[in-house]
Amino acid sequence: MPAELSPPDNSAQQLHEQQLIQRTRDGEHELFYELIRPYERRLYAAAYAILRNEADAEDAAQEAVLKAFKNLRQFRAEAKFSTWLTQITINEARMRKRKEHAGLIEPIATDEERDGSYAPRDFADWREIPSETLERKEVREKLAEALASLGQIYREVFVLRDMQQLSIEDTAKALGISKASVKTRLLRARLMLRDLLAPGLGGPWSKQLFFEKGAKPW
């Protein structure tokens, strides 16, 4: 991520953010985009984790930003602006998902989640998938498919924590769950993805994909 688009991570940037919030509240509305720009990717990712559709995710993220703009006066300085924005986006995406799937109920938590146990399915040696293979679109698509196959509660946590690098605490706040739940869901999401991507187990694509043209990437 280019430095100029990175979320504020130091006090000087946070001060700048607070000033932008105040100026936007005071009527300089055009500054709001500058305020949310560092978080664009995160908002899109959060919406996509729930809706799993580009157009819907973009629409939900846009709507969430507009709601944030209209409700900026309700934002309290003691909270993190980025977490507040993410919460609004997640609520917006969840609401759309509920409307789309009215009548279909996704389980809130499974028995396995409640007791935290999950046995990894494959005990074979893990064969490293090098980061360089991400240059290939088909690899990215397959990883995205694996992620999409997880239940929503796991996708949400995994995307915020492992793809957007939020802390456990910020992930918990953004999703409105406890830190313990974040850790439990994160554990399961990581292990399930590992199982899905383990060559030969639940991921027969991996062999076809990585061994094509006779070239082994590892």
Partner: protein
């Protein structure tokens, strides 16, 4: 302190996050040295975290920022001013359309269809900038760009020539030129 495999699986995620007590960490380190299977679980999970944490895994649709900014501008501009702006835009559009019709009568358009529907326009890229293209590719790149897929069959040409042939700019190596025109 000794841990068994089940305890290791429960804690492997916290272990990766550096979120386990020192005694437990030491016990898990010891376990990984002796348990081949749990070591494989650890390495696989670490690999998953590294792969999905790569920014290439999240592709935001092209033009997302620009559309968001535009919508925000529309919503944050007072209605009266928006109406006035709307008239201005409509008038400008009408002029452009009229001009476009006139131009099309006198000359062929020099804007070919892009090879990829998802590509963004190369507005902002200096026309004289030397770039490379792959015969089967859809993008033009700066020489040496990591995102050139077929490096065996490259042609070098000015950006204007690549655009004329329908190639779109690589959003990685030519990013700095695109950000001025696309949000």
């Amino acid at each position: 302190m000794v841990v068994d495999c089940e305890q290791v699986w429960r804690e492997v995620s916290n272990y990766l996050d550096g979120d386990v007590e020192p005694r437990l960490r030491t016990a898990m380190d010891e376990h990984f040295r002796s348990c081949h299977r749990c070591a494989a679980v650890l390495e696989g999970t670490r690999n998953v975290v590294r792969l999905y944490g790569d920014e290439r895994m999240l592709e935001v649709p092209l033009g997302f920022g620009r559309r968001l900014e535009r919508r925000l501008l529309e919503e944050s501009t007072p209605a009266s001013r928006r109406t006035f702006l709307g008239w201005l835009v409509a008038a400008a559009t009408a002029l452009l359309v009229a001009g476009g019709i006139e131009l099309s009568r006198t000359s062929q358009s020099d804007q070919p269809a892009l090879r990829s529907q998802l590509a963004q326009s190369a507005v902002g890229v200096p026309p004289g900038l030397m770039v490379v293209v792959a015969e089967e590719g859809k993008m033009f790149h700066l020489a040496g760009c990591d995102f050139i897929h077929d490096k065996s069959n490259l042609r070098t040409m000015p950006a204007r020539e690549a655009m004329r042939e329908g190639y779109a700019p690589c959003i990685r190596c030519l990013k700095k030129y695109l950000e001025t025109s696309v949000g």
